[in-house]
Symmetry: C2
Subunit: 206 residues, 2 copies
């Protein structure tokens, strides 16, 4: 697939998983794409935990359902009603969760480019996620980034040590197709803004 | 360009800028690719400040040179010697800096998917950067992500308000080509790790 087609057709996937198991060679290509991401000082500070155990998927889905309720309780009126129609995860249906972690100890004691910006390694980890997501789109595989969870719960669930920070749970699995319009727009939660609204010349506001 | 070719040939660019000005239509495609990135609750929380003024480029390059010295002072022996050969920015040569900011106030009072993970909006902003970088690679444009700076200096330099966090300075400009091997590997700073070293099954360490 062409790069721009992948960028334009990528979607956050919740409803479209077919329930098939992702092929091993496809998964390998997605992970290799992630591992090719830019990283500060070439530290490659990411970890990927591949979760398929139904017990772990169930446990995480239960936690996410609780967090959904926590968020729902902050809403009222039209916002509450609109949110009630929105699906926030496909944890069981995708059959594979990829837990992405950030390990700041990777890359030795002097990470080139991180002395002034401590979060630069976290940024590298997110670049790896976006690479994986685009590769999945090109392979006909859906990715849904779940963020209705507490980091400490997820860390314990997959046994990450204290120094590794969970950055994402990605639901990853084959899809029949992806919708043209993002879910949150289709369900009336928000609409996309024009590019011009985020551009500035020379100085912020210019 | 095919997606996988873009992912594999993308490089952090410091030496390869030709000094030509990027064409307006190409720049528009890069920024549109960034603006297509996934964002938590469709908040699209990024800002892009396009900096071309030679005075601002000079001021930022001076600050980065100081921060280079700060980092160099933490090194000794072989590390200091190896680092001395590595170029860390192409601020003037690229002729365009794109300062990327993260605005947590974007997306309304209840950002869907951010109540439990405050940094989710920061992650969205980094996805936008990676989209831009891949699009640049496909267009024959180099991108160098500079992180030798203090956030407060950069915020003031381009007049970002207090609530907007500077996430990156990207040197963006045409290149004749990109090296096959990343700079830090060519100069002996670090080598890339095998994918298997960051993969785990079911649980961390598994």
């Amino acid at each position: 697939m062409e790069l721009y087609e992948a960028i334009n057709s990528r979607r956050d996937t919740r409803r479209e998983f077919t329930g098939e198991r992702i092929a091993d060679d496809v998964l390998e290509r997605l992970l290799s794409a992630a591992h090719c991401a830019p990283s500060v000082g070439m530290s490659q500070p990411w970890d990927f935990v591949l979760v398929r155990s139904p017990e772990t998927l169930d446990a995480f889905a239960g936690h996410v359902a609780d967090e959904r309720e926590t968020f729902a309780a902050t809403l009222s009126g039209e916002r509450a009603e609109t949110f009630s129609r929105i699906k926030v995860e496909g944890i069981r249906e995708s059959r594979l969760g990829i837990v992405v972690g950030y390990d700041p100890t990777r890359g030795g004691p002097n990470v080139l480019g991180r002395h002034a910006i401590a979060d630069a390694g976290l940024y590298s980890t997110v670049c790896a996620i976006e690479n994986l997501w685009l590769a999945a789109t090109a392979e006909g595989v859906g990715v849904g980034w779940v963020s209705f969870y507490r980091e400490e719960f997820l860390r314990e669930l997959v046994g990450m040590p204290e120094h590794v920070r969970p950055v994402a749970w990605l639901c990853v699995g084959p899809v029949a197709g992806l919708p043209d319009v993002p879910d949150l727009e289709r369900y009336g939660w928000r609409h996309r803004s024009p590019l011009a609204s985020v551009l500035h010349e020379e100085r912020y506001g210019g």
